[in-house]
């Protein structure tokens, strides 16, 4: 078992999620135990149907678990109602999606300001904070551009800036490079890496691409609703390139890391 230090941002114990589809019951998460500490950069991997997306939704407080315990920044959030979850999302979580999800016909600046609108940040401060975060990801010169005037990479950077504006405790990135070419994907991953290393922002990245996961410091692999491997890349002394080559190689570490 990985030894944890510092304060946990995400701490789940025996987390289960069961969907009922008519008569059939689908077990999406079959008892997950996982902890993510502040400052970590975790990639969650797994084939489709492995439960990684469900895990991200529950971690991101978009959904409640069927059973088990979820502590977010020390607070038990396993059974919150929709409004309470919305409030935590508003203040402590940032989301980055595969399809950017920027509001159409709306300037990049206004898109970045959106979470602050719901968090009740005074208008005067919004623009300043938004521009500040846009500068960090290098899109401050695109402030008045609408999404359809920007490339995919630029749109995703704007989306990342949007995820930063409320100084979240955790950024959840769901296949953030899924719609981007290799070169742009590298750029976007470098931004995440910088945010993690230079700003100390905790990031949880969901992907099915080993190359992308290789940018993280730790890789958690899901299969059939269970964690089948949890590997710290530094600890294993693996280079990013090596990890990226095969999934089989990654699976080998399974025995060493799962308690």
């Amino acid at each position: 078992m990985k030894v944890h230090s510092g304060d946990p941002v995400v701490n789940v114990r025996d987390l289960r999620k069961i969907y009922t589809l008519g008569e059939a019951q689908v077990v999406a998460l079959a008892g997950i135990d996982l902890q993510i500490d502040r400052g970590e950069f975790v990639a969650v991997m797994g084939p489709s149907g492995s439960g990684k997306s469900t895990f991200m939704q529950i971690t991101g407080l978009l959904d409640n678990p069927t059973s088990g315990e979820y502590r977010f920044e020390g607070q038990d959030v396993s059974h919150l109602d929709a409004d309470a979850r919305a409030d935590i999302r508003s203040r402590r979580l940032g989301f980055v999606f595969q399809s950017y999800n920027l509001l159409p016909r709306t300037s990049a600046l206004e898109n970045v300001e959106l979470p602050m609108v719901y968090a009740g940040v005074p208008e005067a401060q919004r623009k300043q904070i938004a521009l500040e975060k846009m500068k960090i990801v290098g899109v401050d010169h695109l402030a008045d551009h609408a999404p359809n005037q920007m490339s995919g990479g630029q749109q995703q950077r704007v989306a990342i800036a949007r995820s930063l504006v409320n100084n979240p405790g955790l950024i959840l990135a769901d296949e953030p490079t899924g719609a981007l070419d290799t070169k742009t994907s590298e750029d976007v991953m470098r931004i995440f890496k910088e945010l993690n290393e230079e700003q100390g922002i905790t990031i949880m990245l969901v992907t099915h691409e080993p190359d992308i996961a290789a940018h993280a410091k730790r890789v958690v692999t899901f299969r059939d609703g269970c964690v089948v491997s949890d590997a710290s890349l530094d600890k294993l002394g693996m280079t990013e390139g090596k990890l990226g080559m095969t999934e089989g190689k990654l699976a080998m570490t399974e025995r060493e890391v799962v308690a």
């Binding site: 959904d63 919305a86 409030d87 509001l103 016909r105 719901y118 949007r162």
Partner: protein, 406 residues
């Protein structure tokens, strides 16, 4: 993020982002409200003009006519007997609820004056006639009780007679006209009343004191009818029975026997006319209300489409921290803003339309302010009512599914 101003701003931004959709959505309400204003304006204008013409007939008016005369077994109609005298009229003046009484002696005669001649109706009446008919003089003045007492040879002309005798536009006041070779001095002209409800030209008349008419034109001591006006319209029935009783007593008619006179009023006509007007106004308003509802359903349609089209946007808003309530309020505000602005524009168009109808079709119109307020309130309510369901649908979306929506 539950303050009204913030939500209003969110809603306005969303509406401005989709200008053409917003405008098209508003169109239904614009047309609905404009239709309400125009139809109600025409309806109440028509009702008012009907009411006015009824009032000019005198809705408080009670007419007493002589009964029928039987000569050699052949019964004449009402009025054929000569039983009513000016004294009968005098006897009615002091009855409770009676505002004014005027005898009416009507003859047709050739009138000559200013080198022209014209056959018209000569009405011998009391000065109170102008009060009874609410018929003022345009120039000069009505004759007085002194003129009546003196059987003065003075006349007040209706506008048709003025234009027939004085087509050159010269002032008729002070001129002398000949009625059956009797010279009368013109002392006034009447305002134009136009046609009566029955299509008669009411202005084709000359008013002279009834005493002059009796002595100089008919040579009779009886009058054609007595006109009695009640103080208010709802006293008409009471006054009518008092008049009947008073005349029966004066004419010594035993109970159970046929009266030698007949008392009638125009109230039934007035009531029918005003209820017809009201029915017409409600009919028009009903049509207009249907168009408002159709406009509202239009808003609901577009809002429903909008919710579906913006599912991902809603999912995103929720994922960055919008509560369901905030989403609901935003969508509801969008629809209320649309329908209220639509309502205001509709009022503007309604006034323009009313003005066009009034000036092009020469149709009497009247925009009742209560309907204007009602249609603004109603269009706002349409926004709330028809906007609620789509807004509720938006708010109850699951953010996960909304984000995944294609």
């Amino acid at each position: 993020m539950s303050d009204f101003k913030g939500i209003l701003r969110l809603a306005l931004r969303a509406l401005i982002r989709n200008k053409s959709r917003s405008i098209l959505t508003m169109l239904g309400i614009v047309i609905g409200v404009a239709a309400v204003i125009v139809t109600v304006a025409i309806g109440s204008g028509a009702r008012t003009s009907v009411q006015n013409s009824i009032n000019s007939l005198g809705s408080n008016l009670i007419v007493v006519q002589p009964g029928s005369l039987t000569t050699g077994g052949s019964r004449g109609g009402f009025g054929s007997a000569s039983t009513l005298t000016p004294a009968d009229g005098m006897a009615l003046v002091h009855l409770p609820g009676v505002a004014a009484v005027s005898p009416d002696v009507t003859v047709r005669a050739q009138v000559v004056g200013n080198g022209n001649n014209w056959q018209t109706q000569i009405q011998g009446v009391a000065p109170t006639y102008s009060q009874i008919r609410s018929w003022d003089t345009a120039t000069g003045a009505m004759f007085t009780q002194n003129d009546v007492n003196a059987s003065a040879k003075v006349a007040v002309l209706g506008q048709t007679v003025v234009s027939e005798l004085f087509p050159d536009g010269s002032n008729p006041i002070g001129q002398t006209i000949m009625i059956r070779n009797v010279p009368f001095t013109v002392i006034g002209t009447l305002v134009s009343l136009g046609q009566s409800g029955m299509g008669q030209d009411q202005d084709d008349t000359v008013l002279i004191p009834y005493t002059s008419a009796m002595e100089r034109l008919t040579g009779l001591t009886t009058v054609n009818s007595l006109m009695v006006s009640a103080t208010t319209a709802d006293q008409v029935d009471a006054v009518q029975s008092e008049v009947t009783a008073a005349l029966e007593q004066r004419h010594r008619i035993p109970a159970g026997q046929q009266d030698d006179f007949q008392v009638r009023n125009l109230q039934s006509i007035a009531a029918a006319a005003s209820s017809t007007g009201a029915v017409m106004e409600f009919l028009l308003a009903g049509v207009a209300a249907v168009s408002l509802i159709v406009g509202g359903i239009g808003i609901m349609n577009i809002m429903m489409v909008s919710v579906t089209e913006r599912t991902r946007e809603i999912g995103l808003r929720m994922s960055v921290g919008a509560r369901g309530r905030t989403i609901l309020n935003q969508f509801l505000t969008e629809s209320v803003v649309l329908s209220s602005i639509g309502g205001l524009i509709g009022i503007a168009f309604g006034f323009i339309g009313t003005f066009l109808v009034a000036s092009l079709a020469k149709w009497p119109t009247e925009v009742p302010i209560a309907w204007v307020i009602a249609s603004v309130v109603f269009s706002g309510l349409v926004g709330v009512f028809f906007g609620y369901y789509p807004a509720k649908k938006a708010a109850s979306l699951n953010p996960i599914e909304a984000l995944r929506f294609e």
